[in-house]
Amino acid sequence: MADEIPNPPPAGGPAAGGAPTPPPAPAATPATGGATAAVAKPAAATAAKPAAKKDDSRIAPPQKTYVPRPGLMDQIKDSQIWRSIFRHGYPNTVRNRSLAVLSNVFLHLHPVNVRTSGLRLSFTWCMGGLTFFLFLVEIITGVLLMFYYRPTGEYAYQDIIALGEHVPMGVMREIHRWAAHAMVITVWLHMFRVFMTGSYKPPREFNWNIGVILLVLTLLLSFTGYLLPWDQLAIWAITVGSNMARATPIAGYEGPLAALITIDDVKLVHSGDDARFALLGGRFVGEATLLRFYVLHCIFIPLVATILMAVHFWRIRKDGGISGPL
């Protein structure tokens, strides 16, 4: 283990040295120097104080000092490969547990420790965590769906049928759809919880705002995905949902004030160039819309959401972890 290099623990002393509770006898500390995971190796053993005391009676036959042969697991853990991946011992000491979080890119989005009150399920309802979990489920199942689905008017509907009937373990579409609905619900409840605990108050104002954008993105993800099955439910829900863009003030051709934007009586905002046209790629929900929504759904929005989630989690840490009374 990297820890076993017998350099003295930094200013932290015994605690940083990795002993779960600082041992009462200072004499013992150098020996434990972080060697908690692997069985003590000869180097560490000789460095131990008791051995050092008997320095003058070193004539004793060597076989008397019992050095266990490292087991297979220890050899693996001592290999260069293992040590290149894990920079800490088994997480059963404060130090190694902190390192487990700090030296792992995924876990380090967490703080090293959290308030006991913030850990309670009845405090966070785990709603943010569940939202993130559902997002991961969506990515995994979504990639599997993309293997089969082609976003064209000719194939889309057939591919959806095939996903249920011909593809082995054909519940991916179900999981994807229900997780999407569930994610909308959990993100609302997460916002509800954050509001009820007043967690948007300083210093977390900015993170609340990131959250609001994530909320919008979650709804947009759900909305763009709704079109992809290319059935009656899909196109008409999107038609109803996107009809409103027609009425955008100025930019929608049925919107207020749009009629005022003219050059020599020629209307500049019409059904062929207004906000709705930009959204749908046409005057109505058609194949161009399908492709557009597919790209937004599979690439653009998830990408933006992923980046913002990283910011969101990072800020939770930087703002002092889960909120608690000051």
Binding site: L134, E174, M196, G198, R204, F223, L233, A259, G324
Partner: protein
């Protein structure tokens, strides 16, 4: 019995009952969050639900695959409203006795993320996976006939999470309900942390220390957003007509719509003259009414009831908060006007396609 519930579900009554129920729950939260009372209400809801499922029409509507998540959501919103208020009431009692809130007692103690948090996250994930897989096996994802742009289904509805906005289309023009309103909701949410300067209640549940904030949020989220989703999903059928929960969805039911404009009420009913031909003159009363509502009300409030609030928050914050708040309250006002006097638009400038 079923007729009774059908009658209750008339939009105005449904909305009134829902609003009163939520406000009553907040006002008498000590009573309503007592576990026995809450359990009784929950049991009542379940019994109603099971009983109602015997009705084939109700069952058909509820068990549309895409409507099932809404049922989950309703029970979850109910449960978590209870949980947050329950914890708030407990903390408020402690604060009254001069003790610290529960979280304040616990929070100085910290635990390591590994293993405590990571393990509970892991368990949440396992449970989540199990629920999802079971749900996915039991309930097929819906797939209707292939897309056909020439055949409009009746009713055609947006995805369920946008139905609150679609319901607003009944009362407002699309540019307001579909564009401005969502924009304002997002902006209003973003403004919350900058507008709410109350330093109390940061990081623990409480009601008494921030009654106005919590009541407004409940009003916006539970009363407006959630109840409108219920209304639009379960109570509106073909032609967007209203149907009680136990009423057959009849394709020929068309609600008679009488549209009265505010300009008609003002010039014809109140002044007894005909409406001016110039649109600006014609709509002037409505325009003044809207401007007055948004501009004068905050000033009047600032000078009277909310004096303390203004000194606390400063003018820009107060104005932002008040305008967001007034727009939120304008939803139910317009709905009530529609139901009671068939009022369609307060400002109705067809010339510019500008209706409010």
């Amino acid at each position: 019995m079923k007729d009774f519930f059908n009658a209750l579900a008339d939009p105005s009554r449904f909305f009134l009952i829902f609003t009163v129920a939520v406000l009553a729950m907040l006002r008498w939260r000590e009573f309503f969050t007592a576990p026995k009372v809450a359990l009784t209400i929950f049991a009542g809801a379940v019994i109603f639900f099971v009983w109602a499922l015997k009705d084939p029409g109700f069952k058909a509507n509820i068990s549309k695959p895409d409507n099932i998540p809404i049922i989950f959501m309703l029970f979850l919103v109910g449960y978590f409203s209870w949980l947050s208020l329950y914890r708030a009431v407990k903390n408020d009692r402690r604060i009254d006795r001069g003790e610290l809130p529960e979280e304040a007692v616990e929070s100085p103690k910290k635990v390591l993320v590994w293993p405590d948090l990571v393990y509970s996250e892991f368990i949440c994930m396992l449970i989540g996976t199990a629920i999802l897989v079971i749900w996915a096996i039991l309930l097929k994802a819906p797939l209707e006939e292939p897309a056909n742009p020439n055949k409009t289904p009746n009713p055609s509805k947006a995805p369920w999470y946008f139905l609150g906005l679609q319901e607003m289309l009944v009362y407002f023009d699309p540019w307001l309900a579909g564009v401005i309103l969502p924009g304002l909701i997002v902006n209003g949410l973003m403004a919350i942390p900058y507008v709410d300067t109350n330093p109390k209640g940061n990081g623990y549940y409480t009601f008494k220390e921030r009654p106005f904030a919590i009541t407004s949020f409940f009003f916006g989220f539970v009363v407006l957003w959630v109840s409108m989703i219920i209304l639009m999903t379960f109570l509106r059928g073909p032609n967007q007509a209203f149907f009680g929960p136990f009423e057959q969805w009849n394709l020929h039911k068309v609600e008679p719509t009488v549209n009265i404009q505010f300009s008609q009420i003002f010039w014809q009913q109140w002044l007894g003259t005909s409406r001016p031909i110039n649109w600006l003159m014609r709509e002037m009363p409505g325009i003044l009414l809207v401007l007055g509502y948004l501009a004068v009300t905050p000033i009047v409030l600032a000078k009277t009831v909310c004096k303390k609030m203004v000194t606390q928050m400063g003018n820009p914050r107060f104005l932002t908060m008040m305008i967001m708040f007034l727009i939120m309250v304008a939803m139910p006002i317009k709905m009530v006007l529609r139901w009671t006097c068939n009022l369609q638009f307060i400002v109705n400038i067809q010339e510019l396609a500008l209706n409010i």
